[in-house]
Amino acid sequence: MNPSLLDQLALAAAKGPMHPSPLRAYTWVLLSITGALLFMLFGLGIRPDVSNASTSGVFWIKLAFPLTLSALTLQAVKRVAHPGATVGGSVILIVIAVVAFWTVALVPTFGGAPASLFQQDFWGRTWREGPLYIGVISLPMLGAAMWLLRNWGPVSVRLAGGLAGFVCGTLAAAIYALHCQESGFLFLGTWYLIGALIPAAIGAALGPSVLKW
């Protein structure tokens, strides 16, 4: 390594940290979330019974479940963006949250509720469209997330893409919850999750090419 190169680098470093602008990051995040919200508002529409529904606990759980996953996954993304940090622990937390939700959702079933109730809770009426809409809503956020992550240093590019995609997917699920009229916990635990896994799969597939540095 020639010494003059080191001098140049040292001088360049002294001129200030080469930090990606946080302001620009926030702008991207806000714009993409706004885009996703607008699509939900004008493409799908808020559920008509929203004022009634929002007095029920289920309405808020439908928001809280995906948003909890978003928050947990965001922590994992932060770690995966920093070389040398371990990611396993934060991924396990995400899995624990999903398993815990499923356990609660299955309480009625094991408590002897009729099978027809399980069927109704699990399939709902919109299991075909739910995951697809969640996938579509997540796309603007996925674009922004991948773009932002490029500025950092993920060494496991596939995992990083997948986790970033899952953050966007769970955010999209929370947005979709404002439209969706399902109320089964099993429905949330299954179809919301599958919807959130769509951008996660896209992110993981794009990771090696988009996040390479």
Binding site: M1, L6, A13, P17, G84
Partner: protein, 170 residues
């Protein structure tokens, strides 16, 4: 990592030494490896904002070096410089530089194998001995030679596919 030009300058110097030993231990000494070392150093410089105080600095540097390692091997594999010439090493090569590169690459890969496998491949694949001759030369049975060659080639193949590459254990 913050402020001070001279401190950062000396950090870069230490970093260069560290990267040199890291990559040369694995890939030997060549201008190609020097390029790789420089690239890793520039990556660390340009991504210095990805260092956080929660991670030990050596873990941070190693993670980046390992990433560059895997990336480099993957690129080489993609350009198919490595594996193709293995069978034709004795054939007169049209391009002497390519032939030299291929030889060097194979030597580098062979160096990572256990002695028995390495010798078996050298006898049978590089020096053109028959399996029977190699068996006599190495004092092993023909079957053992075949197995060693097969395992050695397989290990080299694994090493070339980035997914299985684990420099820490090298």
């Amino acid at each position: 990592m913050s402020g001070d030009v001279t401190a950062y300058r000396s950090f870069l110097e230490q970093l260069t030494d560290l990267l040199k030993s890291y990559f040369r231990k694995r890939f030997g000494d060549s201008s190609e490896v020097d390029d790789l070392i420089q690239e890793a150093m520039l990556a660390i410089h340009h991504r210095r904002h990805t260092f956080s105080n929660q991670v030990p600095i050596t873990a941070w540097i190693h993670a980046i070096a390992r990433y560059k390692c895997a990336d480099w091997l993957r690129e080489k594999k993609r350009h198919a410089l490595l594996f193709e010439p293995l069978g034709e090493i004795d054939a007169p090569a049209a391009d002497p530089i390519a032939a030299w590169q291929a030889k060097w690459d194979i030597r580098r890969l062979l160096a990572t194998l256990p002695a028995k496998q390495r010798q078996a491949i050298e006898y049978v694949k590089l020096y053109g001995f028959s399996v029977a001759e190699a068996a006599i030369a190495m004092g092993m049975t023909e079957g053992a030679i075949k197995i060693s060659v097969h395992r050695g080639l397989k290990a080299m193949g694994h090493l070339l596919s980035g997914d299985h590459f684990e420099p820490e254990s090298a």
